[in-house]
Structures are given as C-alpha cells and as structure tokens.
C-alpha cells in the first residue's frame, strides 16, 4: 500500500522489490497515457500554439504565406463594424437566454424534485428530449414550425393575435429571437438535470421545518431551495455564458452560414468561421478574434461568478 503513496525514483535504501514496482508502475502509466497524450499534443497543445502564432500574422491561404504583423490583428477588432455587430448580437443573445434558461431550469427541477409528484419518469423523459436531439435536427424543426405557413403562424392567426403571418425566418427583427427561444428551449433540460442532481442532497428536514411554520411551495422555493442551490446557480450561469457566447450551430444552420437576414443572426463564433473559411487571407485575423472571444468569455464568466457568489450567500 505504502509504496504507491511515495514518489517514484527510489531512495537507495529502499528494497529492490519496491523499486521494481515503481518502475513497472511508471512504465505502465506512460504507455497508458501515451495515446491520449499524442492526441492532446497534436490537436490541443500544438493547435493552441499554432492559433496564437497565426493571430500575430497575416495568413494568406493562396500562397501559404505568413507575414508577421504583431498585435495589428487584435487592434483591428475594435475598428471592425462586423465584429461589433456580432459582439452586440452575441451579448444580447446571452443577456436574454442565460437568465431565462437558469430560472426555468430551477423551477422545473424544483417541481420535479417535490415530494409526492407522480409520473416523474415520464415528465423527465419528455423534458430530456431536446438534449438528446442534435442541433441540426432541432434547428430544422424550429425553422419548420416558425415558417410562414407553419404551425406557429397558424396558431397566432387562428387565435386572432395576428392578421397575417409573419416571416419569422427572414425578418431581421425576428430571426435572432427565434434562435433565442430555440436555445432556451434546448438548454433548459441540461441545467434542470444539474439542479436535480444537487436537489437530491437537500435534507428533507429543511422543508419539514418550513412546513411546520406553514410555508407554501412558493415560500419554500424562495427561502430554502434557491439559497441552497446558489453555488449550483453560479455553475449554471457560468456554463450558460460559455454556451451562449460560443453559440454556432443554430445560427449557422438557421442562416445557412451567412448570419443573415441583414447580419441579425451573426454571432461571434459564426463570424470567426466566416473570416477563417469564407475568405482566403483573414485566417490570422480569425484566430485573433477566437482568442479575443476566449478572453471575453473568461472575463464575463468571472464577473458573473463574483456577482452571484458575493450576493446574499452569507445571510443563509
């Protein structure tokens, strides 16, 4: 038992058998790690260094030429109107989607974890469906239900709320909103499961005590569940921010890669893709944008963490 706790390499006083064991341990470990390490070396470490290198260069894909230009790619971001539009769209998207998905996930998880609720398995299966579905199928289905002749328009005109159908997919003022709805709808189950996993650990005695005091479901949610879940909420917010800032698939499929109509669905991730693969000489700039996005995500996530963590937790 003990020999595994100590660092391999062996002091001279150690018996031979233990030393052999350490060597065998190390050999086995390195050969077990080698394949994974090779993949990490090529597609993570080398890729990251390569991205960093490209971000300081002008990359011309026609003649495979790299011209060093220092921080100019980064400086260009702030003069690029398209980048500002994309950043604005992405921030707005995140600002709407993250609070909605967090609140909905919490409410549904709370309902599902309440005692004496029946058909839990069935509800969970239904709620989980969007998580199981690929973004490609989801986006196609949402484009279908929101198309001019689709069920949503049929419902709205049928109910008399609209006089004529709206072209949700092609109108700049609606396109991003449809993607917001779709994204909230498809991410809630994921976060709901995260909440559920930790609600299992919430001691029943807390609820029972509150019930003795005559608390109703809403009061229990507000004064017990939400404070108890605050650390998880921080985590959910972080994941939500990271997810929304990287949103790509839905916007790409929705607009067929263009970010249209009228750049209204152009997210930062989609713009990175366009600069990298739509033009032949802006790959370096695209790398700078991607790294910039990574920094933005990191800063915003840290900020949200601070705000949620330093807010009322001490009271409970």
């Amino acid at each position: 038992m003990m020999e595994k706790e100590t660092v391999a390499g062996g002091k001279p006083t150690r018996p031979k058998k233990k030393f052999d064991r350490h060597r065998a341990d190390a050999i086995q470990a390195y050969s077990f790690l080698a394949p994974a390490f090779l993949v990490i070396l090529v597609f993570f470490i080398a890729a990251f260094v390569f991205a960093l290198y490209m971000s300081f260069n002008k990359v011309n894909m026609y003649n495979n030429q790299y011209t060093f230009r220092g921080l100019q790619n980064y400086a260009e971001i702030f003069k690029d109107n398209i980048a500002l539009t994309a950043l604005k769209n992405t921030s707005l998207f995140s600002l709407v989607v993250v609070p909605c998905q967090t609140v909905l996930a919490l409410i549904i998880a709370y309902a599902l974890s309440s005692k004496g609720i029946r058909f839990k398995k069935l509800f969970r299966l239904i709620y989980f469906l969007p998580t199981l579905t690929s973004s490609a199928a989801l986006t196609l289905i949402f484009m279908f239900i929101f198309n001019v002749n689709g069920p949503v328009n049929g419902f709205l005109t049928g109910a008399g709320w609209l006089t004529k159908p709206i072209n949700f997919l092609q109108e700049p003022q609606y396109a991003l909103k449809v993607i917001m709805v779709m994204n909230i709808w498809s991410t809630v189950p994921n976060f709901m499961t995260v909440y559920l996993a930790s609600l299992v650990d919430l001691p029943d005695s807390l609820y029972e005590a509150a019930e003795m005091d005559g608390a109703n479901a809403w009061q229990k949610l507000r004064s017990i569940t939400i404070p108890y879940l605050r650390p998880i909420t921080t985590y959910v917010l972080l994941m939500g921010i990271i997810g929304t800032f990287q949103m790509f698939d839905q916007a790409y499929i929705f607009s067929n890669g263009s970010g249209g109509p009228d750049n209204s669905t152009l997210t930062v991730a989609l713009m990175v893709y366009q600069y990298a693969f739509g033009q032949m000489n802006t790959m370096g700039y695209a790398c700078a944008l991607a790294l910039f996005l990574a920094v933005v995500i990191y800063v915003v996530a840290r900020l949200a963490e601070k705000l949620n963590g330093g807010n009322g937790l001490a009271n409970n």
Binding site: T6, V7, G9, H22, A24, D25, Q28, A29, Y30, L33, A36, F37, V39, I40, A51, I107, S114, I117, F123, L125, I126, F128, L129, T131, L132, T133, S134, S135, A136, A137, L138, I141, F142, M143, N149, P151, G154, N183, T187, N190, F191, A197, E211, G214, N216, A217, M239, G243, Q246, Q250, Y252, I253, N256, A276, F277, A286, C287, A290, L291, A294
Partner: protein, 276 residues
Amino acid sequence: MHKHTSIGKIILYVVMTIYALLTLYPFLWAISASFEPLKEIVSGNMSLWPKQFTFANYQYMMGTSAQFPRWFMNSVFVSTVGTVINIFLNTMAGYALARLSFPGRQRIYYGMLSLMMIPTQVLLIPNYLILMNLGMLDSYSSLILPSAINIGNIFMMRQFFLSFPKDVEEAAEIDGLGRIQVFFRIVFPLARPSIATQAIFTFMGFWNNFMQPMLYITTPSKYTLTLGLQSFTNQQAGVRWDHSMAASVISILPIVILYIIFNKYFLQGVRMDNEK
C-alpha cells in the same frame, strides 16, 4: 396546512404539464409533418392530426433517396468507432492518473485541466490546417482522430478509479495475472457503470456533432446525418418540409432508444458541457 400543500401541488402539476407541452410542441408538429404530403404542410392550415396520412416521406428517405441511408450509416460508423476509441483511451489515461505513481503525474494532471479551458473556436482553425497537412480532410478520420479522447471523460474516469478498492488488483496479481491482463480483464469490467455513462455521452456527442463534419467533410457521400440534415436548408426551391421532417425524426430515434434503454446512466452522467 394540508390545504396549502395540495394547492401547491396542483400548481406544480400545472407548471410541469405546461412545460412538458411546450417541450413536446415542436416534436409533435415535426412528427405530424413527417406523415403528411407536402401539399398539406404548406397549405397554411395544417393540422396536428394528418388529414391525409402517408408513409411516403419515410419510404423516400430510406429507399428512394440514395444519400440518406448512406449518411445514416456514416453516422453509425463514425459514432461507434469514435466511441470505442474514446472508451479505451480515456479509461486508460484516467486509470494511470488515479492509480499509478509516476514522475510528473501532478504536472500532467494540472496541464490537462488547464487545456480544458480553451474554447473549441480557438482550436478549430489550427486543427483544420493540421488535418489538411496530415492529408486527412474529407475523411472519417478527420472526425474521429481529434476527438479520440475527451479530457472531461479522462477526469471522470480518474475520479472513479480514485475510489476503486485497491485489493482488486492486488488479488489479481497474486493469481499471477500480468498488469495489462489485470487492467483489461479485471479492472475494465468492474468499471462498467462509469464506462457506460462515458460511452453514451460520447456516442451522443459524435452522433449530434455538426461543426466538425461541416468544416472537414466536403464529399456528399461522406456526410454524417447532421450535415445531411443541414443540406436540406439550402435547396433552391425551398425546403422540402415533408422530407426534412421525416429525416429529422429518423435522426433522433436512435438516441431516444438509447436513452430509454440506458436511462440510469444518462442521469449519472449529467454532463458539464453545453454546446448546443
């Protein structure tokens, strides 16, 4: 007090039912459209229950369309091979990090941890060029190789092996099994629950992946399902909703079946990524 709880419960049921209906709404319409002729779908007053029920869309997707069955099989192939490779590499790496002592273990562990923070977008561009230089673009290996491991799953396996009873290996060694045999014949089967969780989420990740196939694959016969689905949106004459909804339903079915069979593993593995 009793009255309070029952009113509260009714509200909870109402909330849950409304949300369940909201979740089902798009799926029900998609399923409905997949059984309707296009004429009825685009008429503007389509009903949830098909007036003219037909299997023609499914027949078209699985038979007449030459491409779709091919895409389906491509997805099956890439997801299966990718998952099997992941299971071996992640489990072996996780085992080494948890159970074996070797120089540099801590450093490797923290190194991997920090790599997890790099967002996909940053790695996508260089990986495209790396794959191009390896001559792997437009091949199945371009979809499998860069995703042959998953750092998150390596950590999950490490976590699992940290609390794995040590006497198992010792007893096996006394029985005269070599280290490699111990791992593959004793440890591996005992780790089945964690491996199953990992396998399901890895398979789902490959099956639903869109970004990598979209970037790396150009030949239509090599498309995966997700890429094939997307190709429905850029038809000149407008989207064939009848075909595309049938195709969407077919693409979702395998994962739903997996979910129903392996329900408990899904719930164990509440995954931390949210890349939809």
